[in-house]
Amino acid sequence: MSEEIIKDVIVGEHEDYIINMGPQHPSTHGVLRLEVCLKGETVKYLVPHVGYIHRGIEKMCEANTYQQIIHLTDRMDYLSAHMNNEAVCMIVEDAMQVEVPERVKYIRTILDELNRIASHQLWWCAFGMDLGALTSFFYGLRDREHILDIFEESFGSRLLHSFVCPGGLMHDVHPNFQKRTKEFVKYFKTKLPEYDQLLTGNIIFQNRAIGIGHMSRETAIGFGVTGPSGRGSNFSCDVRKIAPYGAYDKVQFNEILEPGCDVFARYKVRMAEMWESLSIIEQLIDNIPEGDYTAKMKPIIKLPAGEYFRRVETARGELAVYVVSDGNKSPYRMKFRTPNFSNLFVMNEIASGYKIADLIAISGSLDLVIPDIDR
């Protein structure tokens, strides 16, 4: 199709113009190429081209043990590394019918939420920068540093922690963990209103976000757009509510739904989710039970033959893991349903008809992480 149109441009019969955005464009946040067909400044349609960072993680899983696979899942959605790890751990625990200690569930849930806040902070600063507000980048990274310091103290790594293992945690958290997390919650509660002052109420920002990138609820469900992007279209898809895992059944929190369906609605969902995450951490941090940091596991993990399926909520949506085991120590087939894969391909649907400058706002509002698409 695109070749025909390029010919037309040469002949000069139409005003269509093909422009390649990426794979090295800063606002694609990774190696993604969008082939955009323009009529004047308006996007007629766009075709996402993926595969620039395809590493064959699903094929690699077939040759690795479950303990090793956890370290591969970090590299999919590196901003939700902990949730990705947890999904693999939980599927192993399900299959082997291991009951993890309460302490582990609490710590995992706190780490989930800390990771979610860190991810949303990075999204917020990058989104502001996409729209030309450079200050937000410094504000966001300043506050994210506090979370990464907590991670570094407990796990030794800041981004790809691989801290959980089947049955529990690699080791216990640092003695300062509770104190520093509480300090962070207190600190960030004073900083979040600054985010609103800087960007949310800003009229220039609002003009670029309200009414842009309309995604109806039916589109969101049809394309499987989950996470904050789906909830910005009033699609109730929070796995933490649908099928609670970890300590999510012990805390009170709201599933944030916005009926706005536009870029601003998706923005508001993420801002509200940061408040919810803080509230979840507050409810759990003082009540972490004493006990073991891991359940007793055999050194060689072999899942009983069969098929297993598990869903978790990452910062970007629903991550589902599907394992076919033949009883060996590595899976026969492992499939990751990653949230960004589905979230990306709705772009043609929601960006067509808007200006090319709005395309940046739309792709920013979907919060894409490209290695998660290609795997």
Binding site: V50, G224, S236, Y308
Partner: protein, 152 residues
């Protein structure tokens, strides 16, 4: 929300030859490839089932056959179903596309075509998604790549 027995009863009415394997985590149904699309249509349109959300679609290579696996969810009722269909023709595997029912299936099916070489009939854009056209189908069990994959 319907439980496993109620769901399987309704599905059996639509496809009498459907097979329900025992002892699975979620309700699974295996249908012949000719009835795969028609059952999916019923699953989506029946108001008592309302499977409107395709969580994921993938395939598994069992060396003697390919199994196409769809995980379906109902946003309204929150019951889940695993729809499967088996393809025995290894040289030219093909099955109907679900992209008319679920827009997201278009891209899951392109991924399956890319990695397994399973063709989807009536697919709007049956091209490879990640890899180059002359690359093999890497998730097939008989795929060999001596340069990039070290066999242990």
């Amino acid at each position: 929300m319907l439980n496993k027995e109620e769901l399987s009863e309704i599905i059996r009415k639509y496809v009498p030859e459907a097979v329900f394997p025992e002892g699975t985590q979620l309700l699974e149904v295996i249908v012949p490839s000719e009835q795969y699309l028609s059952l999916a249509e019923k699953l989506k349109s029946d108001p008592a089932l309302a499977f409107d959300y395709l969580i994921t679609q993938t395939a598994v290579d069992f060396t003697t056959k390919f199994t196409v696996v769809c995980h379906l969810d109902s946003v309204k009722f929150r019951h889940m179903l695993v729809l499967k269909s088996e393809l025995t023709d290894r040289d030219n595997p093909a099955i109907d596309s679900l992209s008319g029912l679920y827009p997201t299936a278009e891209f899951f099916e392109r991924e399956i075509f890319d990695l397994f070489g399973i063709r989807f009939n009536n697919h709007p854009n049956m091209k490879r998604l990640f890899l180059e056209d002359d690359y093999g189908y890497p998730l097939r069990k008989d795929f060999r790549d001596e340069i990039n994959i070290i066999e242990r």
